[in-house]
Point group: C2
């Protein structure tokens, strides 16, 4: 144990121990990866550093590697800063947590704000001069860069636990039960360092999101204080945005269902966020995946303008409930012209899926 203020290193006995070591952004092991001007983003401090670098060096050309949540949000931020922004993503679409057809809508949104997309390209190395990054080299081209943002996801900080012989799960996070207890008596873990349980796939799942971490921390805290609480698991809900376009997802996506061997139907509908004649009504696309035959809801994805994304919470709640799309048709969701068409877009998608199961 190292005391942060004194620097003193020593041993400290404990009755109850909580491991909350979080996660770290993934830095790829490629030539030039340690050059100046290459930034990962995870903590407030790393955000401050990027901002400082922009203020000091006035970079003109930014390259973002990775088209996930961090990549999207940084693309928006850097475009708003007036920079020339490119984004490299090894998949054929950004937002790998969406199905490719829905990810394509997000790719479109990025292009619309002026981001140059290089999809299906892999990072190979960085060109470096005098310790500073000059360009990002992919398997297809060299992109000059004054600033590089890495958004390649995070990995759980579970090494400390592993070295203490606390078992990890199959996704690399610390394995915990519903009370956030590790396999070792008196040792608890919560947050981005642990493996979660996916309530739809009924399988281990790794997710590094503040809302999950916060709920897990509460459960761990109640338990290690002598109380009783459980965290049942997640359904994989997440939201992001890129300028005016909102993006949301929950449950399982097509690739996961295929891996699981589950048969499913898919319905994708275009609707409006408000009644068509109401000011600021705009497009929303909702995709719903349901189990073939039973109709059980398996997942949903939404891309649209303001007011679109938060609708994912209805699908998330329906996943927790184990609803079928047939049941969902009659959900008594709110309607008034400023808020929704008469049939909420989520219900239109459910209705369409119900006709296919």
């Amino acid at each position: 144990m190292r005391q942060i203020d004194s620097g003193r290193v020593g041993w400290e006995p404990f009755d109850q121990l909580l491991i909350a070591t979080g996660a770290s952004p993934f830095f790829p092991d490629v030539p030039g990866g340690d050059a100046q001007g290459i930034h990962g983003l995870s903590t407030l401090q790393s955000g401050i550093e990027v901002r400082k670098a922009i203020d000091q060096d006035s970079p003109q050309r930014a390259v973002i590697v990775g088209g996930g949540y961090i990549g999207l949000e940084m693309a928006e931020a850097l475009v708003l800063r007036g920079m020339e922004v490119s984004l490299v993503e090894k998949m054929p679409q950004v937002m790998g947590t969406l199905d490719p057809d829905m990810g394509a809508l997000v790719s479109e949104a990025l292009r619309d704000i002026g981001v140059a997309l290089y999809l299906g390209e892999s990072l190979e190395s960085f060109d470096v001069r005098r310790g500073r990054v000059q360009a990002v080299v992919t398997d297809q081209r060299t992109l000059p860069a004054d600033l590089v943002i890495l958004g390649l996801g995070v990995r759980p900080n579970s090494t400390l636990a592993a070295e203490a012989e606390i078992p990890l799960g199959e996704k690399g996070g610390i394995r915990v039960n519903e009370r956030m207890q590790t396999a070792v008596e008196g040792v608890w873990a919560a947050g981005d360092c642990v493996e979660s349980f996916h309530l739809v796939s009924r399988r281990p799942f790794y997710v590094a999101l503040g809302t999950v971490a916060n709920k897990q921390g509460r459960v761990a805290g109640i338990n290690l204080g002598g109380g009783y609480a459980t965290f049942p698991g997640v359904v994989g809900t997440a939201v992001s945005k890129v300028c005016a376009v909102e993006v949301a997802r929950t449950g399982l996506q097509e690739a996961e269902l295929q891996r699981l061997g589950w048969e499913y139907v898919s319905a994708k509908i275009d609707s409006k966020t408000r009644v068509g004649y109401y000011p600021n009504a705009g497009p929303i696309t909702v995709k719903v995946l349901a189990e073939r035959d039973s109709g059980r809801l398996l997942g949903g994805q939404i891309v649209g303008i303001e007011g679109a994304a938060k609708r994912i919470d209805v699908l998330a709640t329906a996943l927790h409930a184990g609803f079928t799309v047939q049941e969902m048709i009659h959900l008594d969701l709110s309607y008034a012209p400023p808020y929704s068409p008469v049939w909420d877009p989520v219900l239109i998608a459910a209705r369409q899926a119900a006709a296919l199961v």
Copy 2:
């Protein structure tokens, strides 16, 4: 039967008949009630007439009678038209479908946009000169009026059915089963003319909302076409807005629970629509009612700025699912700073309620 275009009146045999007579705004039977300048609002045509009256007569002083959805929406519209707007409501708060403490927030929102509120006052008569309304007379004062809007709710148009000896329900709407079948073979009914079933109280319920009517019409259509579909009922969801303030409710309110004799706990929390540091984050108040002991969710109400109201759909879906507030704590709702605090306000309210059951 009367043919609308030819005016021909006669008898028409049928195999299957659908009654879709809708509802009519309630006009109070008080002196002067038939004067010019007094408007109810229900159809597109009645809206066009109010608009025409405003364009022709340039009324300065408008009095709205009734503080429900129509009253609120007309208050907004008339204030935006630059009129001096008063609102008379016989209850101590506007929005009788909210509990008084939540209704008070809406009353505040109305006052903030310049509406003069006369709460706890009953309409007694209208002062009329040369056939035109001059003032609204309440049990406490006389309010000069160039224009009067009545927003006193609607009544189901069920007289035709009643005269044909088709049984009505206890709320005055046509009684139908889950397939939208009346008690008479071959006669169906759907929309604002029928009585619904409330899935939380498990009792008959009358609601005149487009979203419910539309769903019922679909079910009736499938059935009378020889198919099979059921409409299970409603949970009482509704939304409205008054300028920047959004209002939403679902489930049962305190007065209903007291009438039913159900014991409940109530949690009301103030939070933000987005993470506090994010631009345009603003206040949201969420109230949740849960059954004492069991913790079963019974209802919810939301008042807040942009982004607040549609959150009611999570509570509505949870009502359909029969969730307890304890279960709701772990709903995997979406979080990102532009959309929500780390704990969605709905979950903060559920958590607080769970601590009370």
